[in-house]
C-alpha cells in the first residue's frame, strides 16, 4: 500500500543526488543555468487508532491479541469457508505470526501477552493515510481445541477523529480440529497439550463455535470443566481513531 509513497521518496532522493553531482560538475561556470527546483519531501500523514479489547469469558485466557491492518479487499477468514493455514495455527496454538504473510496484510501488531479472563488491554496502531483500509482483531480462546474470536474486515475509513466503534464479537470454530476437549489436545493451562497440528479432522469450515461441553456436562473424556464453558459474546472490542 505504501508503494507509491516509497517510489516518490526514492525519486526525490535520486533527484537531490543528481542535482548535487550536476552542481559539482560546473563549479567554475558562471552562466545563468537556473538552479534546479528540489521538490519538497512530503512527510506521510499518519492516522492513529487505539484498539481496546476486553476478555468477557469466565475462564478462557486468550492468546496475545493480534491487530492486523490490511487492504479492504482481503479478510482473514470467511464463515462457511475453510480456514487458511495461518488462521488454523492461530486457532489451534495461539500463534498469530503467520498472519503477516496473508494476502493484503500490511501490518501485524500483537498484544503484550495473554489476555486473561476479565482482562483489558489497549493496542495502539498508527497508519499512513494511504494505508488506512480494513482492520482485523483476532485471538485464540486457549482452553479449547480451535476456538478463536475477533472481527475481520472492519472498515477504518468509517471513523472520524475521536470516533469510537464498539463491537461485541462471538466465538468461532476454525473447523480444523475436532472439539474432543481430550487430554493432550488443548494448549491452554487447562491441559498444556498440543497446539498446531496440520491434520484437519473437523468439518473444515469456519463457523460459530458450538460451545464447550466439559466433563461436568457429560463429556467423559473432556479435560475441561464447567468454568471453561462460554457464551456469546466473548470479546469486547473498542476501536477509536485518536488522530
Amino acid at each position: 500500500m505504501n508503494y507509491p509513497i516509497n517510489i516518490f521518496k526514492r525519486n526525490a532522493i535520486a533527484l537531490v543526488a543528481f542535482t548535487a553531482i550536476g552542481l559539482a560538475g560546473c563549479s567554475d561556470n558562471d552562466n545563468d543555468t537556473p538552479a534546479p527546483v528540489v521538490p519538497p519531501v512530503v512527510a506521510p500523514v499518519m492516522q492513529d487508532y487505539s484498539v481496546t479489547v476486553t476478555n468477557l469469558t469466565a475462564n478462557q485466557p486468550m492468546s496475545p491479541v493480534a491487530v492486523v491492518a490490511h487492504s479492504n479487499d482481503s479478510t482473514l477468514w470467511s464463515t462457511g469457508m475453510p480456514a487458511s493455514v495461518a488462521l488454523e495455527i492461530l486457532a489451534e496454538s495461539g500463534d498469530s505470526s503467520g498472519l503477516t504473510d496473508e494476502t493484503g496484510v500490511n501490518e501485524l501488531l500483537s498484544g503484550a501477552g495473554i489476555l486473561v479472563p476479565g482482562g483489558t488491554e489497549t493496542i495502539a496502531i498508527s497508519l499512513e493515510q494511504a494505508d488506512v483500509a480494513d482492520l482485523s482483531v483476532v485471538t485464540m480462546l486457549v482452553n479449547t481445541n480451535d476456538a478463536f474470536t475477533g472481527t475481520t474486515g472492519f472498515d477504518l475509513a468509517t471513523l472520524a477523529v475521536n470516533d469510537t466503534s464498539t463491537l461485541r464479537v462471538i466465538a468461532y470454530d476454525a473447523g480444523t480440529e475436532a472439539n474432543s476437549e481430550a487430554k493432550g489436545t488443548i494448549p491452554g493451562p487447562a491441559d498444556g497439550g498440543e497446539g498446531f497440528n496440520a491434520a484437519r479432522d473437523d468439518n473444515d469450515k469456519v463457523h460459530a463455535h458450538p460451545g464447550i461441553i466439559s466433563m461436568d456436562d457429560g463429556l467423559m473424556d473432556s479435560v475441561l470443566s464447567a468454568s471453561h464453558r462460554f457464551d456469546n459474546p466473548v470479546l469486547l472490542i473498542k476501536v477509536t481513531r485518536t488522530k
Binding site: 479492504n72 464463515t79 462457511g80 463457523h207 460459530a208 458450538p210 461441553i213 456436562d217 463429556l219
Partner: protein
C-alpha cells in the same frame, strides 16, 4: 489512493446516485452452526404491522407448523395474503451446517420490513428467526446475525422419532445421519409457551440410549446461528 480504492469509490458513488426508493434486495444467509441443518427458508418482505413471529408472544399455528416440522406453506400464504412478497426455499432444500445460500433476489416493492424463518434440525421446535427488520432506504450492504428461537409449542425431549406434525412430540429427523436412537428423553420442565430464545440442546454421547438422541459433540450451538447479508440496491 490505489486503483482498487478508486474503483470502489466510483462504485459507491454510482450506487448512491440511484433513487432512494429502490427496493431490490440481494440476500445471503449463512448457517453458522456446527452440525444443524436449516429446513427450507422463508424470506418475507411485509408491512410494519406484520410478523412471522414475535418473541414473548404465542406462536401462530403457521409458525408452529414451521418450527416443529419445517413446513413454511402456511406462513408463506399468510404473508402473501396480507400483500407481502416472499422467497420460499431459496436453498432448494436443506441448508447444511456452515453452508451459505446467496444471490437471493427479492423485490420488496413498497413493503418496509423483512423477516426470515426456518426450522433448525434436529430439534423439537427450534427455528432461526428474523422478526421485522426495517429495510433501509439507503443503498448499501447490511450484515447482521440472527438467533435461534424456541417456538414454545413442544417439549424439548430430544427424541428422534419422526414426529414433525404440529402437536406430535419428538424430532422429525437428523439430516446429517448423526442422530442416536432409543433415548429415554429429556424432561423439559419449562412451561414457557411463548416464543423465546432457545436454551440450546443438551445431547449426550450415547448414540444408542442415554437421555437424548442428539449428540452433544455435534448438535449443540450458541447463538447466533445465522449471518444474513442484505444488499439494498
Amino acid at each position: 489512493m490505489n486503483i482498487n480504492k478508486l474503483t470502489k469509490a466510483l462504485f459507491i458513488t454510482s450506487l448512491m446516485s440511484l433513487p432512494a426508493s429502490a427496493a431490490e434486495l440481494e440476500i445471503s444467509v449463512t448457517n453458522l452452526t456446527h452440525g444443524n441443518y436449516f429446513t427450507p427458508l422463508l424470506i418475507a418482505a411485509h408491512d410494519m404491522d406484520s410478523h412471522l413471529f414475535q418473541a414473548g408472544e404465542m406462536a401462530t399455528p403457521a409458525l408452529q407448523k414451521m418450527a416443529e416440522g419445517g413446513d413454511i406453506a402456511d406462513l408463506d400464504a399468510a404473508v402473501t395474503g396480507a400483500g407481502g412478497v416472499t422467497v420460499a426455499n431459496p436453498a432448494m432444500g436443506l441448508l447444511a451446517p456452515s453452508a451459505k445460500v446467496d444471490s437471493i433476489m427479492l423485490d420488496s416493492g413498497d413493503m418496509t420490513h423483512l423477516s426470515l424463518t426456518a426450522m433448525v434440525l434436529p430439534t423439537n421446535d427450534a427455528f432461526v428467526g428474523l422478526d421485522a427488520w426495517k429495510i433501509p432506504t439507503e443503498a448499501g450492504t447490511y450484515t447482521f446475525t440472527v438467533n435461534a428461537y424456541d417456538a414454545g409449542t413442544e417439549a424439548n425431549d430430544e427424541i428422534i422419532n419422526g414426529g414433525g406434525a404440529s402437536g406430535t412430540p419428538g424430532i422429525p429427523a437428523a439430516p446429517g445421519g448423526d442422530g442416536g436412537m432409543n433415548a429415554t428423553g429429556i424432561m423439559d420442565n419449562s412451561n414457557n409457551d411463548k416464543v423465546h430464545i432457545h436454551p440450546g440442546v443438551l445431547g449426550d454421547t450415547d448414540m444408542d440410549g442415554g437421555v437424548s438422541d442428539l449428540d452433544s459433540r455435534v448438535h449443540r450451538w450458541l447463538n447466533p446461528v445465522a449471518r444474513v447479508t442484505v444488499i439494498v440496491k
